[in-house]
Symmetry: C2
Subunit: 375 residues, 2 copies
């Protein structure tokens, strides 16, 4: 293999592929990039067996003097390319003889060992039958707005991922961790076949880092039985799916309420954040709301001190005292774009719903027990 490529194009491609490089593994080949130079240009592949990324620099962006394939330690190769010159426009030459790769730029010259490209695991084929197409912006937002309520290391695999559900012209993304449920809905431009899959949280986190998030650029998501594939620009990302049936979400939702509160989101966040000052790792106290006609009184009592605050609100229905984990409220409130949010509650034991009128978002949060005599 013998190629010449502009440093900037290569750095951008490596940055993307790096997200699928395994960081701790007993299989050294999973710490590698596979470089493939052919008549189409240069393809860079990384694959940690859960998540695979293939991204390319097309033939306009590089000169393929001699096609071929090579596997090299990913982090080392990336660091060399990043540091080999200060000039992003400089040309980097890469020569591989199958055992030693030589990397040249201006006066600098690196030689590193190659690994056997044959050992590199193949990327699973994903059928292009079932799919949806949405804007990068929407996908990035939907993940960001729900990902906080997964449990990344839980033994219940369902909770480590997110439900992606295509039904009746809508995409619904759901995550839950046993104390709360986060739901985002978006309308689709076409009528797609129904799909219901669970995508690992790790994949979703990595994809938000790669997507530029532009509203005019689309992502296609293809679904097969065990894998799903995201394609956008020069990049293809294939991830294993989490096997099994997701929780029956609809049975947990309810639209009845006895108390509805409409509150300014920024002020609400500010008050709740203030209360967290009194929380210690070893002493997790709830924030207790006393909701009356025109205000929410907020209290936090912990071993280190007490807080009291008050916020004017518009309240419909019954007065209520209810306690929450303040961080669960903050997670949901911080990803809502609306200036005003509505909370729907029934009693101190029943879930609270934060939702909008159009059904774009629903955040269910379970309340926390507290001793009313202490507040």
């Amino acid at each position: 293999m013998k190629i010449q490529i502009r440093k900037e194009s290569l750095v951008n491609a490596l940055n993307i592929a790096m997200k699928a490089v395994s960081m701790k593994t007993t299989m050294p080949i999973l710490e590698c990039f596979l470089l493939t130079a052919d008549e189409n240009g240069l393809r860079i592949t990384a694959n940690d067996t859960e998540l695979a990324i293939e991204t390319s620099v097309d033939k306009e962006g590089c000169v393929i003097a001699e096609p071929g394939q090579s596997a090299v330690e990913a982090r080392l190769f990336f660091e060399i390319i990043r540091k080999i010159s200060n000039d992003m426009n400089s040309d980097v030459s890469i020569l591989s003889d199958g055992s030693i790769m030589e990397i040249r730029c201006e006066n600098s010259n690196f030689k590193i060992q190659e690994r056997d490209p044959e050992q590199f695991p193949a990327i699973p084929e994903v059928s292009r039958e079932k799919y949806v197409s949405i804007s990068q912006f929407t996908l990035k937002e939907m993940i960001r707005d729900t990902i906080f309520s997964i449990l990344p290391n839980d033994s219940n695999k369902m909770m480590t991922g997110e439900l992606f559900e295509v039904k009746e012209g809508k995409l619904r993304v759901v995550s839950l961790d046993g104390h709360r449920i986060s739901i985002r809905n978006t309308g689709l431009r076409d009528d797609y076949s129904p799909v219901s899959v669970i995508i690992p949280g790790k994949t979703l986190n990595e994809i938000t880092k790669i997507l530029t998030g532009e509203a005019e650029k689309d992502v296609n998501i293809f679904f097969s039985r065990n894998y799903c594939m995201f394609t956008f620009e020069n990049t293809k990302l294939v991830t294993r799916l989490i096997d099994g049936e997701y929780f029956k979400i609809d049975a947990m939702l309810s639209y009845d309420y006895d108390t509805k509160v409409k509150v300014n989101k920024s002020d609400f966040i500010e008050c709740i954040e203030r209360s967290t000052v009194l929380i210690r790792e070893t002493d997790k106290k709830p924030i207790v709301f006393h909701i009356t006609e025109n205000s929410i009184e907020m209290k936090m009592n912990s071993v280190i001190g007490t807080m009291k605050d008050e916020l004017p609100v518009v309240c419909e229905g019954k007065e209520l005292m209810i306690g929450f984990n303040p961080y669960f409220l903050l997670d949901a409130l911080k990803v809502i774009d609306d200036e005003e949010v509505s909370l729907f509650m029934t009693n101190p034991k029943a879930p609270c719903f934060i939702r909008d009128e159009d059904g774009k978002y629903i955040y269910l949060i379970l309340p926390v027990n507290f001793n009313p005599n202490m507040y």
Copy 2:
């Protein structure tokens, strides 16, 4: 104690005092701020027994309705003040009854426990006899330009601090770690009594964070036998000194050389940084320079690969092959402001000096052994 104070003034003062709050201690009082309200305003003190800081908001900046003293857990108090309102101009009321402190701002109200202010350790008195006065800018720079070659956790206490030496109208700051020496000199505006003290590195690190670094604002440094005191603006910082006699630096310096190299600093840094890509924690290889009439050829050979680079230079004297720990070169080069730097060397076993003609800086770096047949 009963005071009213603008949030911004209090936050700024707490930010400074926070640097002397003990983070891990068996004496809870060392985790506190001591607040003292009297006819002069509000004074905030922190003291971890090695380092003490006292900073104040004068009576123009606060209303002292009732003078008094109170001790409160520093991090908690600081967090409450930071979060109690989003408006930096809002007024915060602080009421202390000796056991509970109440902090109020707009609708928010916090109550936290106080500690016994009597237990708070007194700040040592430092005589104002011997001192120097230099600009904040110069002090901050001199510390930054030398602090990297202390050994913060060494059993040899001398190496955990820096020598501050006043002699013949000059201040000299020195640090060393057994492999290198960093020296900065600056001329003083007045003729001060000679002084030679060793100031703990921790203190110097904290003081660089507090100093605004303005060239027009001065710092006074007062020296006594066991302590030294820095005073600037509304702040007083007292630190214990390291006891003992510092290394005989002058005996280690030499102005003879057989090879002198003049090199563009940025290019030199870039090449050396490039070589560090091949260094692993377990395989610390030197960068080897082959210095000839018009160039430095640089090589790095490690288990993971090899690098070769070349830089044009102006060389006087003998050709030389010499190896260095690349990080030691980088530390020194990065704090030198000159565009061109000169290296003075004798042989592959003798120290290399990076110094300017005015004697403002001297960096001594010991070379590293290498097998010349490998390069």
